[in-house]
Amino acid sequence: MLENLLVQGLSGLASASSLFLVASGLTVIFGVTRIVNFAHGSLYMLGAYLAWTLVTGLPRGHLGFWGGVLGAALIVGVVGVLIEVLLLRRIYKAPELFQLLATFGVVLIVQDVALLVWGPQDLLGPRAPGLRGATEVFSVRFPLYELFLISVGPVVLVLLWLLFHRTRWGTLVRAATADREMVGALGVNQRMLFTTVFFLGAFLAGLGGALQLPRESVNLQMDLAVIAEAFVVVVIGGLGSLPGAFLAALLLGQMQAFGILIFPKITLVLAFLVMAVVLVVRPHGLLGKAPSTQHAAGPVEPLLRPSPREVRLLGWGLLALAVAVPPFLGDYALIVLTEIAVMMLFAASLHFIMGPGGMASFGHAAYFGLGAYGAALLVKHFAAPMELGLLAAPFAAGLAGVVFGWFCVRLSGVYAAMLTLAFAQIAWSAAFQWTELTGGDNGVLGVWPSGWASDKLTFYYLALALCTGATLLLRRAIFSPFGYALRAGRDSPLRAEAIGMDGFRIRWFAFVLAAVAAGIAGGVFAYAKGSVFPTYMAIPRSVDALLMVLLGGVQTVSGPIVGALAYTWLHEQLMRLFELWRLFLGGVILALVLFFPQGLAGAIGRRGGRE
């Protein structure tokens, strides 16, 4: 028994080392560029694939293996430089969510590129020469390679510490972390600085991936799997803190090693729960510090006004069309239109907390999915009618909003985004792993509308009424005293507090409102599809919502509606026409971020000469 625990502990340390390599790169890049690099997991995956190609292609032996590992890490470093120079350099001043989204675009592109180059099958690499055997540790046999990995983490930590505290480059990087513009004004070429930092971060990720070769197979799921863990590590440790990342990697490595013995199914939930608790107790992580005020002053949010008369007329015109035309359309068109109505409300609900609230959510799908499950589970377990299911949907989502929101609205910026992502992952894991209740991966089937609404056209009208009604209520709320109070907290928390407003309760209530609205959308969606799956709560669904909002423009009132229309249509077309739709979607995201930072509605508004 004791031996067993020891082996688990050691293998936890080995995992911690690999995790630290990825997380250290992520945290170093964040420290200087303030960008949370979603594509860091993709760099890790590329490291593993490239190492496989190099190691299997080069002659066998030490040179072939270690040369291949190092070569792969260097190539990934260069890929990182390309990403920095071609993409990130242009968006350093963009809002955090845009940056996160841009790097998510890279994730999509890398996924399809890796699929094209290396194919869909898992690849197995050779074992490390010289480290093939096992050794006895306290009379327990333990693989040598694992022991080697255990030593890699501390060595890299020490080397990085020396690099940052004992070299001029390191001093400059630390100075740039605090105030990039000032460093530039002192004669330092900060572009070069950023590029070299990105090289280092990408190199570490590539090395982390390459070193996995003898341990596990290389596959296309590595990127999102490792990035979720790396996020947890850097957030628990404190964004930008290397020792923090090291500590957190150790903690997480051990938790997974032993968690698997105790709760084999919920290790992921466990990790995210730890993160949620740490963030509430220490909002900037174990060793992180509150970010210093950056001097590149953010843009002043524009005056928010109700849409001009023409736009409102156009809106009513569209609604009239949405009511009048469908009787003449076929089933497929009705299904797409129903989906558009649902997505419009989903986008509007996210926009409510992102725009006026200024809160970043990377896990809004949780409330959409919980709405859907709220309805579906009533059907599955109690054979409830649709009317009851549609009532339960906002209730379930709202309840989750009350609980999750209480944590999330305490934080701001990327920390809040990470925490919302964490809660969405918890909800997703629960749906995925709690098979007895949710049916797991198979989902819940047979969630059909009541008899009177079973006709596609009738159900479309029902969806349109519910979704448009809720969207209009949300729009009304933006111009209500509450909507203004929400915006007040975003514009100046200091002033809001000084005129007696309770910022926490205001944001919390807004979060719950948004969750309720997303729940309605989810409930309607469940009955439209007739089934509910865990993917309703997965990261890509949250990204859908973000894309719709950003496509429409965050600081415009009609943005989410325009965004939902454009995105749902685009998505439908891409899925239908292209096998490599991820590549195209990634490209569209990058184009959006680079060329339409104000979103479509914003761009149209500007062209129209409106302030």
């Binding site: 524009p302 209500s480 507090e497 005129i499």
Partner: protein, 252 residues
Amino acid sequence: MTLAVEGLRKAFGGVKAVDGVSLSVAAGELLALIGPNGAGKSTCFNMLNGQLRPDGGRVLLEGRDITGMAPRKVWRLGVGRTFQITATFASMTVRENVQMALVSHARGTFDFLGALADRHAPRAMELLARVGMDAQADRACGVLAYGDLKRVELAIALANDPRLLLMDEPTAGMAPAERVALMELTARIAREGRIAVLFTEHDMDVVFAHADRIVVLDRGKLIAEGAPADVRADPQVRAVYLGTGHTHGVGA
């Protein structure tokens, strides 16, 4: 006394930032709090408005103990504030900024179905007229000139009929003539409404021209208190703070 502070203390990591400060401000009086950087002015100020919890001592507002209360509770009891760097809601118009203070005062923040446009607009215009900003009521706060923003802040601070105004460096970043105008406006409003005003300030011209009384802090302790002329003549104040007077024109 509108505000009475007794033996206020605060230490950060063993360093005594504020060490037993007592002071008082009467209704309608302008009291200036001055001293070198790091003397404890901001710490003192932040304990009065609730941003910081004191380690010891008491803060009494019209006899009521408000020590350690959260800023928004302090505000509800009648303490208005302006900030060194103006803090207004940039995405709203000047009038909407004042309306929000009125909405909060009337506890109407959680109304999410009505429209703000119908809430307290006439009262907001009255307040703006008092500070001379009614003509710019429909402009966005984000595009106002700095001196005008300071006036808007004053109007916001007046929205809950305060008994006490706390002004952190009210004239920082303003031109000399604007400074005089703002302080004259403040003094008039304070006298008319019997509002006590406590302000910190680095511009000695402003301090000596507009304060009724001055309190000088150095290293967390109160080293002088009195009428402007007495404080100016105090040798200790000259040594630690005022210097020879060449750089501010109010010395010898």
